[in-house]
């Protein structure tokens, strides 16, 4: 990773004032900001902004900074570096570290891959009523309602952007592939349920 050296040697592809501008703006936000939003405010091409953000992130990592710039849930945001967690925990008020139960994790997985999905479908896949677990996941902001199924009128559920943040994913496209764990024609079989 030579981001830092490259930047200092002026090899960087980005204009000199773009990076400080990005750093300054990201210092005042409290949620991930999309590249396109930053590009609009700074009146720069989105691609250029994306390159600058990635270079910054690489610089921080190369220099071993205690903070990190990461793309999560469709936007960029400053984070502390994982290695510093034990120290940071002492300063962060009531961090939500309560672990999810096995049932909650399984249900979350089904919702993530089958969204929007009804409670009945989740129950069919898990083989057990999952209403209580879905309520818990909703209360913890990981899952939310997503309208109703036009046919059955059942309430549908999907994951939230907070879910992406908690898993450190840029988007749902980054969910691990389910296929390696599944037989070939299970999709078809599942439809029969």
């Amino acid at each position: 990773m030579e981001g830092s050296d490259a930047a200092e040697a002026g090899i960087s592809q980005t204009p000199p004032d773009l990076k400080p501008a990005l750093e300054a703006i990201l210092m005042v936000v409290d949620e991930p900001v999309a590249e396109v939003t930053l590009a609009q405010v700074l009146e720069r091409p989105t691609g250029e902004v994306g390159v600058a953000l990635r270079e910054l992130s690489a610089e921080y990592t190369a220099a071993g900074r205690g903070f990190d710039l990461r793309e999560v849930a469709g936007g960029w945001r400053f984070y502390t570096r994982a290695e510093c967690a034990p120290l940071v925990e002492r300063f962060v008020r009531d961090g939500q570290t309560a672990r999810l139960t096995q049932a909650a994790l399984e249900t979350l997985a089904v919702v993530a891959y089958r969204q929007p999905v009804s409670r009945a479908r989740v129950a069919a896949i898990r083989g057990v009523n999952s209403d209580g677990v879905i309520r818990t996941l909703t209360a913890r902001g990981l899952v939310e309602e997503a309208g109703t199924d036009p046919e059955s009128q059942a309430v549908l559920y999907r994951t939230t952007s907070y879910f992406l943040e908690r898993l450190g994913l840029r988007s749902l496209d980054e969910l691990p592939e389910l296929a390696p764990f599944l037989p070939d024609d299970v999709e078809i079989l599942e439809e029969k349920q």
């Binding site: 994790l105 979350l108 083989g127 079989l189």
Partner: protein, 284 residues
């Protein structure tokens, strides 16, 4: 609940242990979970698993739990037991040659079940990955610091868009407990027989006869739906302490004896008839 466990898997490694019949109640999170557990204990492919062994063990297990089981858990078990029996039935078919339609249907059912088990296992695997990511991600804290005052003051003037009245309405809505979500079955369940009406018939007959078999009491029923309604009515009357039951042997004749008052109205709940009473009271 922990007190009754034979071998409590610790939460970290529990999911990793393929062997060992975990008698931890976590196992009952899903019947599929248990089924997978049972199969993996025998370290066999599902198509080769010695199902009678698993089934026997399973039944022994239910027995050993004795009367402490609640209905919910027992019904989960029954679902698994039924599944196992399906599997066993499919297993007993001669392999290769499929002669009649029923055999084919059984094989299909087995494949479908197998696919569902694999599917469930896939989500279980992914849930493990989720757990790892959540733990890893919990080490990184996002910056969420209030904006410096000089910038906060520049935020566009807030458009509140509501007055005190609307605020009160929104608050009231938030404070109103959300009704537990229910699936409407009104479009599929059209009661053709009213439990209340059937109860009235039963009360009249039992007061006259004193005692009768359930078979006799339902001899004149027009169809299954009416037998079901009459059966529910018997249960309701039992709840009102207006009847008692005796049955000499399992699956033998069920005798119903009138124990209620000789006259007067017997009130039977109309829990079963809501869609009817909500609709047209003169129906029927």
């Amino acid at each position: 609940m922990g007190g009754m466990t034979e071998q409590v898997a610790d939460p970290e490694s529990g999911e990793e242990t393929p062997s060992g019949f975990r008698v931890h109640l976590d196992v009952f999170e899903g019947p599929f979970d248990l089924l997978l557990g049972l199969i993996s204990k025998h370290k066999l492919d599902i198509t080769e698993v010695s199902l009678h062994k698993v089934t026997d063990e399973f039944i022994a297990y239910i027995r050993s739990r004795g009367p402490e089981w609640d209905l919910d858990q027992t019904s989960h078990f029954l679902l698994v037991a039924a599944t196992l029996l399906d599997l066993k039935a499919a297993r007993l078919l001669p392999t290769g040659e499929v002669e009649d339609e029923e055999d084919l249907a059984l094989l299909e059912a087995r494949d479908l079940l197998f696919a569902r088990l694999l599917q469930y296992r896939a989500y279980k695997e992914v849930a493990k990955i989720f757990n790892g990511r959540l733990a890893e991600e919990a080490l990184r804290f996002p910056r969420s610091v209030p904006m410096e005052k000089r910038f906060a003051d520049l935020l566009p003037e807030l458009v509140l868009g509501i007055g005190p009245e609307q605020l009160a309405k929104i608050a009231a809505r938030a404070f109103t407990p959300k009704a537990p979500p229910t699936v409407s079955v009104s479009h599929i369940y059209q009661p053709l027989a009213s439990v209340r009406e059937q109860a009235a018939i039963l009360v009249e007959r039992l007061r006259r006869a004193g005692r009768a078999t359930f078979r006799a009491l339902t001899a004149d029923c027009a169809g299954t739906f009416e037998i079901v309604a009459r059966f529910l009515a018997v249960l309701e009357l039992f709840r009102e302490a207006a009847v008692s039951f005796d049955q000499v042997e399992p699956l033998g004749e069920l005798y119903v004896t009138w124990t209620g008052a000789a006259d007067g109205d017997v009130l039977v709940g109309d829990d079963y008839d809501t869609s009817r009473s909500d609709g047209d009271p003169d129906a029927g």
